[in-house]
Symmetry: C2
Subunit: 349 residues, 2 copies
């Protein structure tokens, strides 16, 4: 079958690889209907994280179950399924606590020791899914083709934006600022509105992203950054800062923007993977009672909650996909994301 393999920075290809096979009783084989490229896939693409040898890549996909192991009970051949960006049993103590990204038995697409076997990357024709009962969420059919982008968004970006909002503790009537206008930041705006925020400030300098932010529920757009951006947020929030700020980038600058845009006693919800591991400055947090909460989003646990709103059209996270390409054009997909010509690229095998 065909699957995406990263060979080196900026050398990403669709290669012929071995077909996946059931290797444990808990596996499923999923034929991919759609996959996509994540902002974090750009780290090895850009060489920020090293690629020591060619390896499979991709961790967001939806598809149809082709085969299941003998122990699989919750998923059947023919089911349309959403896969979160990681593998989990959904039964361990951490999963029960709502933190399935810390599953005691889980792992990551593309290979992880804890799984005892290679787990495929998501950007391919088929994927072997370990712990299929815990990992996959069945979407009752029939599935219209135009539903696919919205369902695919539940594999990562919509749940991740929602996690930022939940981690920040958004309550009805809150003022919220969102730092980052990528797919996650835009989905965080959807989540903030859905949880009842009434002032939603999108921090964005890109006209087309500003427009999507407003369609998703942003009440204000702030193009300024740094001290000017903070002043603008304060002007929109009674002079004190936003009740909740959602940090969806992961750089030192974006976290600084988020912390200083938050009012005393407010909370930063952060889901931007800390690129380069900037430490959090404790004094600006402590002196103003600004909290920081979030992390690798446990999106598996959010899919059932968000799915009805996606299917009804009440929320439209599928709109973050502004470019669709065949899987064989994966190199162009990465380039378009890298050069910010696309917010997020959907791939069809």
């Amino acid at each position: 079958m065909l699957a995406t393999v990263i060979h080196a920075p900026r050398d990403i290809r669709v290669d012929t690889v071995a077909d996946p096979v059931l290797s444990t009783g808990g596996d499923a084989i999923v034929k991919v209907v759609a996959a996509c490229v994540c902002g974090s896939d750009l780290w090895p693409y850009r060489g920020i994280t090293p690629t020591h040898e060619p390896h499979r890549i991709g961790h967001e996909f939806v598809g149809v179950v082709e085969a299941v192991g003998a122990d699989v009970a919750a998923v059947a051949v023919g089911d349309f399924v959403i896969a979160p960006f990681y593998v989990c049993d959904n039964t361990c103590a951490n999963c029960r606590n709502g933190v399935s990204t810390s599953c005691l038995n889980g792992g990551w697409w593309g290979g992880d020791d804890r799984l005892g076997a290679f787990a495929d990357g998501g950007q391919g024709e088929r994927v072997r899914v370990p712990l299929a009962d815990g990992t996959l969420v069945v979407v009752p059919g029939p599935i219209a083709d135009d539903e696919v982008p919205g369902l695919l968004a539940l594999s990562d970006v919509m749940g991740t934006g929602h996690h930022a909002a939940v981690s920040a503790g958004i309550a009805p009537g809150d003022s919220v600022a969102v730092v980052g206008d990528g797919a996650v930041g835009l989905c965080a705006i959807i989540a903030a509105k859905r949880l009842g925020a009434t002032t939603i400030i999108a921090m964005s300098r890109h006209p087309e992203r500003q427009a999507l932010a407003q369609r998703f529920g942003a009440t204000h757009v702030v193009a300024e950054r740094g001290d000017e951006g903070i002043t603008r947020v304060q002007e929109l929030t009674g002079g004190i800062g936003a009740d909740r700020v959602l940090e969806c980038v992961g750089t030192k600058e974006s976290m600084d923007q988020a912390i200083r845009s938050t009012r005393p006693g407010g909370m930063v919800g952060y889901v931007g993977a800390p690129n380069g591991g900037p430490e959090l400055p404790v004094r600006p947090l402590f002196n103003r009672n600004v909290g920081v909460n979030g992390g690798i989003a446990p999106v598996r646990g959010y899919i059932e909650e968000l799915l009805p709103d996606v299917r009804s059209g009440a929320i439209e996270p599928g709109l973050v996909f502004d470019l669709e390409l065949p899987l064989t054009d994966v190199a162009e997909a990465y380039a378009a994301m890298d050069e910010r010509r696309a917010i997020k690229v959907l791939l069809r095998p």
Copy 2:
């Protein structure tokens, strides 16, 4: 009158100073019944924060109102009052949001620009209290003498321990670990029990503090620190760590202990003033979805809630005072705290 003045590190004296006078319509003059020494008072005492010139010190006291300005409405001559460790109007946007330590018009005992005039330190015979209506909380009389320690604890340590617990989001049934066995850590144990935690782990190596921790509600004591301490906490919490951890020290080591003792998805509530400003390590927080929340405790807003339980004896924070001295022995009070011969010293003018 007599009041405590710090002249230099380890040179702390009771000096004769000018009597306070009403200087704004919103002032009150309070005759101090009892004051105390705070762990943070030890910073200038130890020379960790510099003393450029002799200045008044102390920020925790209870007393009786002797005089009020023309604009004071909520406090009257003869009232027994608790003063929090700062001054606030209790009406600004930050106060209304529950963060009176960020009061837009408030300030700190011992002098602060925002007040426009010198505010006395608390370790003296009398104190001028600016913004008296917002700052002071009246305790209906009569006040028995043995109630004084418990009421004095509400000026700082009990409310600060409670803030750690509230910031960590303790809910009934939670497992909680408390890092720090000073007066604040011990009060945090009281707060954790009061909010319904059922497993409460006191991290302490001092037998007499362990005993008080258990009287206050600790179900387990862990004397180990570092990796061994974390292992012990995990053993007591199903292998994953405590739901909530209360950090009541403020050093890099204590914060590391707190973060790594917290289960994935849990929260650190911190009130230990960051001594030397250690930064928070983002990766151990992000990767495990451990949040950090807290800061300078807005104790003014907690006094009314906690007061009935103190007066009924349901909670006994006054027990943290294990040494009582006359104000004139203030040098010995600081030495006893510095040498950890006393948990907390109560001073009587």
